[in-house]
């Protein structure tokens, strides 16, 4: 017997909510595009089409397409597929949050220190490596990256207090 929609809902998330959320997000963008095109002008000036001429129709098409998706999702509300199970979503968040923290840390501490943290956290949490291995890899990778980018390609990457302390 196939589990009913409500039963599946309990151990996971159905597709309908993400589906509606993404469609609404696209609708919002469409409205922004149309509004801004109207602001800069969608008609003709003396020297040709104005700046909003082309994006205006892009906005309208985006509106129509995402509206269709939204209506379809609402009409098939009961026929729901599985988006992801609870456990899967936890796994995704367990990666997404560290990435977000990493991006935030990169601007404060520099990308090398942030990389050390990210690799270390991943290896401890997901790989269950011992401290020595974790420390070696987490420190080694940023060091190699430093040599490749700053020394070899002469591309400066964001640095933080630690690099300043070391005199870079």
């Amino acid at each position: 017997m196939r589990p009913s929609a409500s039963e599946r809902e309990r151990d996971g998330v159905g597709t309908r909510w993400p589906e509606v959320a993404v469609a609404l997000f696209l609708l919002l963008i469409a409205v922004l595009v149309v509004k801004d095109s109207l602001r800069v002008g969608i008609g003709w000036a003396d020297d040709g089409p104005r700046s909003g001429y082309f994006p205006f129709y892009i906005g309208l098409l985006l509106f129509a397409a995402s509206f269709t998706v939204l209506v379809k999702a609402l009409r098939h509300w009961r026929r729901d597929g599985v988006f992801a199970s609870r456990a899967q979503l936890t796994d995704v968040l367990a990666v997404l949050l560290p990435i977000a923290l990493f991006v935030g840390a990169a601007s404060l501490l520099g990308i090398y220190v942030a990389s050390f943290g990210l690799i270390g956290w991943f290896m401890r949490r997901h790989g269950r490596f011992g401290w020595p291995t974790t420390a070696a890899v987490a420190a080694g990778v940023p060091l190699v990256l430093f040599l490749v980018f700053e020394r070899w390609f002469l591309v400066p990457l964001p640095k933080g207090p630690l690099e300043r302390l070391l005199g870079f």
Binding site: P49, S51, P55, L62, S66, I99, A106, L118, P142, V155
Partner: protein, 507 residues
């Protein structure tokens, strides 16, 4: 025979010492990118692109295109040995490749896969060699209306040929166009959709989008699937290679059919992934023994690999001649050309002969080098995959962040990359196609420029798109492709109605 002379000259360019070294480096990096999940041809090249800004454009494109060939080869290794497609276009290779590896025929499957990739690419490069100059010559006569019609054809064929719902394909595409329009409008000097933000003045760079959508998005998907590498080990001896090669000529018809499918799907922007699926499906349907497919049939490896590589290679034909890339990776390469100050399109063949023919010659050489490299180094790549994902994943994330940062040396871009990563994950899960989004983002400004110029010529009348037979037939074809899903839906509905009435009659 001007093409052959040009090609010989191109070989001279490609065979110079440093270019040969860049070729080898590119292939090695490409196979690595192809093997690692989360790093693909498109975002791998996007990450490395900023490092080539200071290089000579010919050497840079040779290295970057070789990364592409390497990635096409590399995808097969993980599919066959680990049942994990390293690239989306090698998904179909797992169907028969992995069963073969389980039966202890991994060497045979790998040899067949590499060889068919090579054959597919070779045919596609030959096609480029002889068709590209002719197409470029033809396109020299194009006006803005013709160019817009070709771009329209590109985007309509996405809607018509996509396996995803048409509304979602259009939505993804229009999002790409909308993002491309953000920033300074170079024609009138007006700021569009920046909403007072200085960060948005630059607009959305497609490199950031590619790194986020394909790189971070893929990592999130991989984490969700809970990846564990349990692979077959492989040794690829000269004997096994030779034995497989003696059997391959029997599959000449599979090769030919798959090459044709691949070239067609590559030139029209179907891309390598649908080409590989279509080729696999047709190979099974036309086989004498369809039941053997999925259980370790060699033809089931040959068909998708040939088509994927043929499509991946021929995607460069419209990119070089018309400035319209046939795949996301070709779109990234096109972005590279623009950054190096080369305008892709018909004039490239007139003004930058060294560059174009050096690149085409490097496609021949790169694929030969690629075949030799993968045949000799399989165990090494398989060993890399035994590194746990918990080590590979954060390193890939760090590389993506660095790649996004180096495009404009901006930390805001790294945040954007993360946003695109989440969007990529959601889009993948909800079956929005990513390729039209990326292509629209790359081509947005060009499409808008040619549309505006056409409108200027015609004083705002759409009639310019059927004002002469050439533009009318291109635009007509575009409309047919756009309406193709409607026809399919109508046919299905008719069929179910007939079936329903037949059931009704029986009662």
């Amino acid at each position: 025979m001007e093409e052959l002379n040009n090609l010989l000259h191109g070989f001279g360019v490609a065979l110079s010492g440093p270019n040969l070294a860049y070729m080898l480096l590119g292939i090695a990096l490409g196979v690595l990118i192809g093997v690692l999940p989360g790093l693909g041809g498109a975002n791998g090249i996007a990450i490395l692109l900023p490092l080539t800004f200071t290089m000579n454009p010919t050497s840079a494109i040779i290295m970057l295109s070789c990364i592409y060939w390497g990635a096409l080869f590399g995808g097969a290794i993980t599919s066959i040995l680990f049942n994990i497609p390293g690239e989306p276009w090698s998904v179909a290779t797992t169907f028969d490749g992995y069963p073969m590896a389980q039966q202890g025929r991994a060497a045979q499957a790998l040899t067949a896969a590499f060889t068919s990739s090579f054959v597919g690419a070779l045919f596609a490069v030959a096609l480029i060699t002889f068709l590209a100059p002719w197409l470029a010559d033809f396109a020299l006569r194009f006006g803005p209306a013709e160019f817009f019609a070709v771009q329209l054809l590109t985007f309509c064929s996405f809607v018509g040929m996509s396996r995803e719902p048409p509304a979602k394909t259009i939505a993804a595409m229009m999002l790409g166009f909308a993002l491309a329009a953000v920033g300074l409008d170079t024609v009138t000097g007006t700021l569009r959709m920046t909403f007072g933000s200085t960060e948005l003045l630059r607009g959305f760079d497609f490199l950031i989008a590619v790194i986020g959508l394909f790189g971070i998005g893929e990592i999130l998907l991989t984490m969700e699937e809970g990846l564990a590498f349990k692979g077959k080990s492989a040794r690829l001896g000269a004997r096994a290679v030779w034995q497989t090669w003696t059997q391959l000529p029997r599959y000449w018809s599979t090769f030919l059919r798959s090459t044709a499918i691949g070239c067609w799907m590559g030139i029209t922007p179907g891309g390598a992934t649908p080409a590989s699926f279509m080729s696999y499906g047709i190979a099974r349907r036309t086989s004498k023994d369809p039941q053997a497919f999925g259980k370790g049939e060699v033809a089931g490896v040959i068909a998708p690999e040939t088509a994927a590589h043929a499509a991946g290679t021929s995607a460069l034909l419209p990119m070089l001649t018309l400035g319209i890339p046939g795949s996301p990776t070709a779109a990234v390469l096109l972005g590279g050309l623009l950054i190096w100050g080369l305008q892709p399109g018909p004039m490239l063949f007139v003004e930058q002969k060294d560059f174009v023919w050096g690149l085409i010659a490097s496609m021949y050489l790169g694929n030969i080098v690629g075949l030799l490299v993968v045949l000799t180094t399989v165990p090494f790549w398989a060993a890399i995959l035994r590194i746990p994902f918990s080590v590979i994943a954060p390193v890939i994330i760090v590389l993506c962040a660095i790649g996004a940062y180096t495009v404009h040396s901006s930390l805001f871009d790294v945040i954007l990359m993360l946003v695109f990563g989440v969007l990529g994950y959601l889009f993948k899960k909800l079956h929005y196609p990513l390729a039209p989004l990326v292509l629209a983002l790359v081509l947005g400004d060009m499409a808008e420029a040619s549309f505006r110029q056409s409108m200027l010529l015609s004083q705002g009348s759409l009639a310019i798109f059927w004002s002469n037979p050439l533009v009318a037939s291109i635009a007509g074809l575009a409309i047919v492709l756009l309406l193709w899903p409607l026809w399919g839906a109508a046919r299905d509905r008719l069929r179910t109605r007939e079936a329903a009435s037949a059931v009704g009659d029986a009662q």
